[in-house]
Amino acid sequence: MLDVKDAISADDYVDPITADPREFAAKVNAWVPHDIVLKDAWFPLAHSFAVTDKPVRRAIYSQPFFLWREGGTAVAAEFHPADADKPTKSHYSDDAARYPVIEKYGYVWCWFGDPANAAPEHIPSIPYLPEDGGLPLHMLGTVRFDCTAPLSLENLIDLTHADFLHADVVGDEKMDKETVEVFHDSETITMVRTCVNKSVAPIMKIFGGVKVDVQQVRQVIRIYLRSHAAIAYGRFSPGDNVQLFHPCVPETRDRTRLDYAINTTNVKKTNLFRYMMPKASYKVSRQDSYMTSPQSPRYMNPEKRKDLHSPLDEAGQKYRVLMLALAERQAQGDFAYRDNVSADCSQIIGYDGK
């Protein structure tokens, strides 16, 4: 079941996105993110530094995960070791009530799904995070959203909102030209937004030492659908590149936890931007929450009225359809990965190691 190549050759899989446009639109509008619960995925439940000998509690769709270290190795269990009357164990953990765990990129990843299907090749590729972690603490942080995780990700992949909601951090919508390109496979969606002569992000002006008024921008958002984890990679010239890992862990169907990592080791140590950019998450996340929080209850139940879309929403629409396609396949018992999420995606996101 886990053999990726076999699965591809031996099936009648139809890309949900190349299908009939009417069907596509119908799927986009059947979007009830609150109802989507995908299984068989790795979730980055904690920064490595947060897991010590003393258990910490996390959750995926309300399922409890207790994380701690045994002889330095991270472990995850369904019950707190001090919980005397062990309740009945779910089928998400093994006979010892332990979950599959992998430590990579400075995170403790836990498997949500059938433990027998857990495999390291389903951990997403994040080219700009060191595989064995070790980023300084000021580049890591936690923020929470009281909305359903897919709305947080839809928010992220639709970057035009930034020009309005985050104008005071990343600059307004003034620019000469904007293009949005979208790529996908069955497990990922990648959006590339290119802006010509865009107003310089205030944070780069104030802290980044950018003196000019406009800059060339190329922003990439890549979402690993099942893991609800996103890469946000921005190239700014003039200016420094922004290397953000943005995993949206669905703690419940209506609450999202984001343990972010923003790698600014590429920025000169004397440049304030290196220290300020990671802190921008605190402000930016509250701005996003200002919108996604009232949105969330409005996406809990099927809605007769269709959302309206603009050509700039291509990525968000495709994200919806791909998520629904995965959910439908899982409903039919098909949990296989058809595409390899751990293959290095440097080329796809345009990351050159600098």
């Binding site: 309005f164 959302d307 603009s310």
Partner: protein
């Protein structure tokens, strides 16, 4: 609910500086003033990604701009006029719109009708100068019943005590539900159960659908002392939002009547005493539902004919 005109705001509350959110039952509504000073009302839900339009802003041209992606709507029709990032002059198809509601501003109240084509209500002759807004955690129906059964549960008039005695029980007059209650001046005097006559009365005339009330305090010489309009609107979670306006008459014969002007003469309670409310005997309000149904049936028959 759909055809009624609900007084969802006082004129002072609606500006072009910042849109405001109100609701009519479960329907959230955004209100603002456009470049001509006309009040506009749209569904408080951007049809793009369902965020409240009231979190956005009013542009210089009087249109409302959603705070999320900047979609911009014309207040009169709800039509989408601009998606700033598109940088094009394309016209949007007519389905690209937020639902508009009818608005009427008169007498210092902004009234909204959920039916955009509803004929405007009659203009008010005067705008009462005193005003306020209060949110009460009691639903609309019970709020009005409390006003009928014991006004002191929900409002107060300076120096006035409401007695349990009615001069006219709730009855229909020209499409309104009207009752008149005997009142006393506060202070020491012969107890009301043993009083033959009372110096003042409060007349309450209520719209059978919206519950909007005109209150009139008069003395025994039939001099109007205080007029007030109370507009309770059902809001989310069973809350009732009350906007009110009031005016003291200029000529108020008698010492007690003059003292009405010694401070704020009228107030609407924001907290209701649940212990007192629970045991408040339904009396004047008992026939309200029957009267409303009769009026509604008659209106329906008239419009069918």
């Amino acid at each position: 609910m759909a055809e009624a005109w609900w007084a969802v705001a006082r004129s002072e509350e609606v500006t072009s500086a910042k849109p405001i959110n109100v609701d009519i039952g479960n329907q959230p509504v955004v209100l603002w003033r456009d470049a001509q000073g006309i009040v506009r009302a749209l569904e408080d839900r951007c049809p793009h990604r369902r965020t409240p339009l009231s979190l956005g802003c009013v542009l210089g041209n009087g249109m409302i701009q959603c705070g999320y992606h900047g979609w911009t709507y014309d207040g009169a029709t709800g039509h989408l006029k601009d998606i700033p990032n598109l940088k094009s002059d394309v016209k949007f198809p007519p389905v690209y719109r937020a639902i508009p509601f009818a608005v009427s501003e008169t007498g210092g109240f902004v009234r909204v009708c959920l039916d955009a084509n509803a004929p405007a209500p009659l203009p008010a002759a005067v705008t009462l100068p005193l005003c306020g807004t209060v949110n009460v955690a009691l639903d609309h129906e019970h709020y009005i019943a409390a006003l009928f059964d014991d006004p002191s549960a929900v409002i107060g008039i300076r120096g006035v005590r409401f007695t349990p005695y009615l001069l006219a029980e709730l009855a229909e007059h020209e499409g309104k539900l009207v009752l008149e209650r005997s009142c006393q001046w506060a202070g020491l005097h012969w107890p009301s159960p043993f009083s033959s006559d009372f110096p003042i009365t409060l007349r309450i005339s209520t719209d059978p659908v919206t519950g909007e009330c005109d209150l009139l305090l008069r003395d025994d010489g039939f001099h109007p002392l205080l007029s007030a309009t109370l507009a309770p609107v059902p809001a989310a979670r069973g809350v009732t939002q009350i906007r009110w306006r009031a005016k003291l008459s200029d000529n108020r014969p008698g010492m007690r009547a003059k003292l009405l002007g010694a401070g704020p003469p009228f107030f609407v309670r924001s907290n209701i005493d649940g212990a007192a409310l629970r045991v408040l005997k339904p009396s004047a309000s008992i026939h309200a539902a029957t009267l409303r149904n009769e009026i509604a049936a008659r209106t329906a028959a008239a419009s069918a004919a």
